[in-house]
């Protein structure tokens, strides 16, 4: 028994310690700071994306001295590891234990779908600067979520038309991550591309945790006009490298979702990225005064180019603070805060104009970008601007919503 006692005692102490420590559950009070719960992947394959989102947010907060409407702003940061289940657990902790007044962040579309029912049930507003799950502002609207980023199919709708008319592509193979972002983005592209007369020859799906693209690249048929790829984070880096290694770069032009050449990975790529054409609602190379200022400030602070992820929560932060000021700091009243969040109007954002449509999804410019080397560095040069693109493209919302959500097996539109 003597040999066992230390273990037993240690264990009991640990449990009691946790119980005591757990009692420090926070309270929401009107005198204290405004508490913002922030969720993003800070480890794992999407750490670059998550960290960029956080950095954009922090840059904005620094600019305003971390204060709004006379109250201090406190940000509680949690790592969701880009796993929806972990995101849900951390959201619970932020809302129920830390008693935050408002939430922000999230990266993957799958996290969005996982969090939405919980956020709606807890009546705490959440700003989604990046999460692009289409249906959150379409068929499964989430009342308490305010989307300031984009929807998955928004830019790919525009791109499908552009690819047919301007790039003169007729036959395209797609290879994308096998989750809602991939399905919705490819679905949007396919719809407008096929409406123009184009054809999607193949659709290849890679598991979200993919590392080795070899078995998938080997399947790509060589007689397509282009390959549309959708990846982000580490998978984008590896895909680009392996696309070249398997001899495809020389033979088949690469296009795809803006995330594959976004600035969170572009500086780490080499010549294999040159010439890739993608659509997105932002580019660090966008030549407007607002963007030039933002890029300079971000570069000075973080020594790297801002990606659309960074811009997303820089703007998201601005949006949030504008709403807080509109309710004069009374964040304890969630209903009025949510109302204010939906009514924010901002001008001179780094990405250009931004307003919300009736369904709560952004209407903004879509930029067609091409990767070029300028002054020794790679950049997403803007070659075309398509203004005021909404989540419904040119379709009538009621008609659009009658169709089902884009899924991975859609072959006929």
């Amino acid at each position: 028994m003597r040999g066992h006692q230390p273990v037993y005692v240690l264990f009991v102490l640990l449990v009691i310690g946790s119980l005591v420590a757990g009692q420090t559950v926070a309270r929401r009070s009107a005198e204290g700071p405004i508490k913002i719960g922030f969720l993003a992947p800070l480890s794992g394959p999407y750490v670059q994306n998550g960290r960029d989102i956080l950095n954009g947010f922090l840059l904005y907060l620094e600019e305003i001295g971390s204060q709004a409407a006379g109250r201090r702003i406190e940000v509680i940061i949690e790592d969701d590891e880009a796993v929806p289940a972990v995101g849900l657990t951390k959201a619970r902790k932020l809302v129920e234990r830390d008693k935050v007044h408002v939430m922000a962040g999230g990266l993957l579309a799958s996290t969005g779908y996982a969090l939405a029912p919980y956020i709606d049930s807890m009546h705490i507003p959440m700003v989604f600067p990046v999460i692009s799950s289409d249906d959150l502002t379409q068929r499964r609207p989430a009342k308490w979520i305010v989307r300031t980023g984009w929807s998955s199919s928004q830019s790919s709708h525009a791109f499908g038309e552009y690819a047919y008319r301007n790039l003169k592509l007729r036959k395209v193979a797609t290879i994308a991550l096998d989750y809602s972002f991939g399905w919705e983005s490819v679905g949007g592209f396919q719809r407008t591309f096929e409406a123009e007369g184009g054809a999607i020859a193949q659709k290849i799906w890679c598991p979200v945790s993919v590392h080795d693209f070899a078995p998938y690249l080997a399947q790509i048929s060589r007689d397509v006009d282009a390959v549309y790829a959708l990846f982000l984070g580490r998978s984008a880096l590896q895909f680009m490298k392996q696309y070249e290694e398997y001899g495809l770069k020389q033979r088949v032009p690469l296009i795809g979702s803006g995330t594959i050449t976004d600035e969170h990975v572009l500086p780490f790529m080499g010549d294999e990225a040159l010439g890739v054409i993608t659509p997105l609602h932002y580019s660090a190379a966008l030549n407007t005064p607002a963007n030039r200022t933002f890029v300079a400030a971000y570069r000075a602070r973080y020594k790297k180019l801002p990606s659309y992820y960074a811009e997303s929560m820089y703007t998201g932060g601005k949006w949030l603070v504008a709403a807080i000021e509109a309710v004069r700091g009374n964040v304890e009243n969630s209903e009025t805060l949510l109302d204010a969040l939906r009514k924010v109007k901002l001008a001179d954002l780094p990405r250009g104009p931004l307003e919300l449509d009736d369904y709560g999804s952004p209407i903004e410019n879509v930029y067609i970008r091409k990767v070029e080397r300028v002054n020794g560095d790679l950049q997403n040069t803007v070659i075309e601007t398509i203004p005021s693109v909404s989540q419904f493209w040119k379709y009538n919302p009621a008609d659009y919503l009658r169709r089902p959500l884009y899924s991975r097996s859609e072959s006929r539109n």
Binding site: Y8, V15, E96, S110, Y113, A116, D178
Partner: protein, 311 residues
């Protein structure tokens, strides 16, 4: 059962019944989670502690039952009782089928085959996207109170429903392990060849033990689906099965209170510790190593003066 242990038991049950209205919703939620995992851990203990069959894929049944509830409620809009019964039945049937493959192996081979089966289930949940949604998981499971037509809604009513299920399962399992069948299982654990020579059909006993373990794991899975509102492959992967294994071996296999203790401790530590530090895995791993070194029979069995031999 000794006097001190009986007192502890009564105290714990009383606390579970009367404490929640005084606690914040965060703690009520944690207690609910602890009870769900306690049921799951007890179900694994039937196999591991009582029959001596180490299963490293047990989270699979939990996950399958949860997925069944999710699919039936979101895609087919089935009624509450249909979902509950469906979840338990599908999980149990899976145990009936898998049991045929595993009941003749023992020891490390049993470990490997159950790990493999757990991985098969995980792989299906991850890639059979038309049904499971893959990595996205399935969200939007209706709240239990609304789905079941209960008059009140919120964490407290849900907690008491879970408490009811937990007490019911504990009583059933207690009756089961003290029945002649339960004692036969313990005999198989201690010395299978002797049991065979005494005329027992050890294959059948192991098979039934596996099926019953699967059934109770499914019950836990059904409650979990409603608690979490969301299911994804994460809840039945290797890490989940390993944590479950840890709950049982840490708490004390071969008893019913042990797994409950282990489940409660791990859920508590996981949630509270990770609020302060990211080093949750390091702490859990260290606790585990220290426990195996100092108390290989688990913590609940520390009172026993047995040799430090693990089955």
């Amino acid at each position: 059962m000794g006097e001190p242990r009986r007192l502890i038991l009564i105290l714990v049950v009383a606390l579970l019944i009367f404490l929640p209205p005084l606690l914040t919703s965060y703690w009520v939620g944690l207690l609910t989670q602890m009870m769900i995992f306690a049921i799951l851990a007890m179900s694994l203990d039937i196999l591991l502690g009582y029959t001596g069959l180490p299963s490293l894929g047990h989270a699979g049944f939990f996950g399958v039952a949860a997925y069944t509830v999710a699919v039936m409620s979101t895609a087919y809009h089935a009624s509450f009782w249909a979902c509950v019964v469906g979840g338990i039945v599908v999980g149990t049937l899976l145990g009936v089928a898998f049991g045929l493959l595993v009941s003749h192996v023992r020891g490390v081979y049993f470990l490997m085959i159950t790990l493999a089966l757990g991985m098969v289930l995980w792989g299906l949940s991850y890639r059979w996207i038309p049904v499971t949604g893959g990595d996205n998981g399935i969200s939007g499971i209706p709240r239990l109170e609304a789905h079941a037509g209960l008059p009140m809604t919120g964490p407290i009513p849900f907690y008491y429903v879970t408490l009811l299920v937990f007490i019911a399962c504990s009583v059933l399992l207690a009756v089961f392990v003290s029945s002649p069948f339960g004692f036969t299982l313990r005999g198989i654990r201690e010395n299978e060849s002797r049991m065979k020579s005494l005329g027992f059909n050890t294959w059948l006993h192991c098979y039934l033990s596996y099926v019953i373990a699967a059934a109770f794991a499914s019950v836990a899975g059904v409650v979990w689906a409603y608690y979490n509102g969301f299911v994804s492959p994460t809840y039945l992967d290797l890490t989940a099965s390993s944590e479950l294994f840890l709950m049982v071996t840490l708490g004390g296999p071969g008893t019913l209170a042990g797994p409950v203790l282990g489940a409660g401790a791990i859920v508590l530590l996981k949630n509270v510790i990770s609020a302060y530090t990211q080093r949750w895995l390091l702490i859990l791993g260290t606790i585990y190593i220290v426990t195996i070194l100092g108390a290989p029979q688990g913590l609940w069995n520390l009172r026993q003066r047995h040799t430090s031999r693990v089955h």
